[in-house]
Symmetry: C2
Subunit: 315 residues, 2 copies
């Protein structure tokens, strides 16, 4: 197992800077009053391709040598990694193939195609995705860039927390959603090196709480096809992300579908930003665990803003 | 007629700084490519109370002497001015009464009450509103703060363009929506004093194009009850705003309902920000008048983000 270290993060940050935004941090006095905490929202919904995943994808794509790059890249993804890898490959001018569940939001499919990516559809389960993907790799000879279980990807995602700690002083805690664990692993990698007293919380839907159950059990529990409105958080932990999650995460908090949707709508209403259901899970868990965060300075990672505006979950 | 001057703007800016945000300017490479212009979006949707109107309202409220302030302020508005005046009065701790049609959206009523405002309901007609408002003024002795035909309000709105020209160098043009003309008047007041070569465009719905027809005719034309999705832009010009619009506006461009809704949805999708239909009118007019803006650096004022998320116009 090739575990990325903090030097990999520094190399990644230099490599990807031309292709990403240093995203802004927003605050909202209404939400501070409501939660009793000081919340600092790191707005990766304003990131290139609409999500933090462009950090890891760009690090992988621009780190390839010429001969590997010429054969292109491929991945399977529930959404934003697909867009991000397509964006990065497009910027480098190399081919990219993405295996996606046919149930993925149309907006995400359109965006992949808009960046020049090729889509191969599968069923919405981990087993179907992995089987379909095997065939794609055989046919293309492309470099596999896993959405999260890849040291290049984790080192890339880690640049987000690196920006955050330079933008906001003295954070007591950082919270981010957890699906496969790429963002959380990158956050652990950065904070344990440059802000070791900052607590790290992960937030997960009750309906896809495999990471929370894993942390409690002490080993990876993987569900095959959980159902949740937070479509970015259905995938299970893998060995690399488990390495970070099991060692450095303080706690994994969960929220119901209703709580997630309410937190999403509240964020749109009060902060005037478009965020995905997945990014509303941290705020939902803060609202139901106020004593945990009361009086603390908390970084909240808004992971993406790629929403199908024609099918909003509260309508 | 008491026409505000640029010194009034400087005084206003110092006065209101503790109560407003210096809102960020966002850019979007996708929209730059699409329009052929360099667009700089001044995000007043992130402003306190969700709209630029808090600038003028705060200037009026915090400029009152103690004895006048003690009797409170009042206005008639079913929109952002009602929220903004309630916010400002709440910050100063003085009474505020808002006359609103009983048909106004519950969300707006709740927001006014949330800021500590008192609502007096009227029938949804001009005669009922005026009669009700007269009574309120008599009973309370409150200071009337008009939504736009008021020099204190125009001087307050002018602080938005003052921020914009310090945030973005060498703007060739600025464009903002026009309803009663408060924002455009403030923009004229600032730019003609500190950036006189910057062109000023106003953007208006075809369905409520009274300002465009006024500019062409050379006198104020007021429509009785125009119907448009851009609900902030239904009101007519008045003598103070006509003073600025007739002298300093390069052109008033118009967009249809379909064009406004498409530009609104595009902004949500690509910029990941929640904006009102009224703020989408400038982008809609830029998209249909590309040669006017091609190659120019254009400030686009996003006036507010108070949207009813349960009734989006494209659904």
């Amino acid at each position: 197992m090739n575990i990325p270290n903090y030097n990999d993060v520094l190399v990644a940050h230099e490599r990807i800077k031309p292709y990403i935004h240093e995203t802004p941090v927003l605050t909202c006095s209404y939400l501070n009053d409501l939660t009793g905490a000081e919340l600092f929202f790191k707005c990766e919904n304003f990131q290139k391709a609409g999500a933090f995943k462009v950090r890891g994808a760009s690090n992988a794509v621009f780190g390839l040598d010429e001969s590997k790059a010429a054969r292109g890249v491929a991945t399977h993804s529930s959404g934003n990694h697909a867009l991000s890898l397509s964006y990065a490959a497009g910027r480098r001018g190399i081919p990219v193939t993405v295996v996606m569940p046919h149930t993925a939001p149309q907006a995400k499919k359109d965006a992949v195609i808009g960046y020049g990516g090729k889509i191969v559809e599968c069923e919405p389960s981990t087993s179907s995705r992995e089987a379909t993907f095997e065939k794609v790799l055989e046919q293309t000879g492309a470099e596999f860039v896993h959405p999260y279980n890849d040291p290049r990807v984790i080192a890339g995602q880690a640049t987000c927390a690196r920006e955050l700690v330079t933008q906001v002083e003295k954070l007591n805690a950082v919270i981010a959603p957890i699906g496969g664990g790429g963002m959380i692993s990158g956050t652990c990698l950065t904070l344990k090196n440059i802000a070791e007293n900052t607590e790290i919380f992960a937030a997960e839907p009750v309906n896809a709480d495999d990471a929370a159950r894993s942390l409690k059990a002490g080993y990876i529990i993987a569900d095959d096809a959980p159902q949740t409105v937070a479509d970015g958080l259905k995938v299970p932990l893998k060995e690399l992300t488990w390495h970070f999650v099991s060692r450095y995460v303080t706690d994994i908090l969960t929220a119901t579908e209703e709580e997630i949707i309410a937190a999403m709508k509240l964020t749109w209403q009060r902060m005037k930003i478009v965020i995905e259901p997945s990014c509303a899970v941290p705020l939902a868990t803060i609202l139901k665990n106020k004593p945990v965060f009361k009086g603390k300075r908390v970084g909240v990672i808004i992971t993406g803003g790629n929403v199908d505006l024609d099918t909003l979950p509260w309508l």
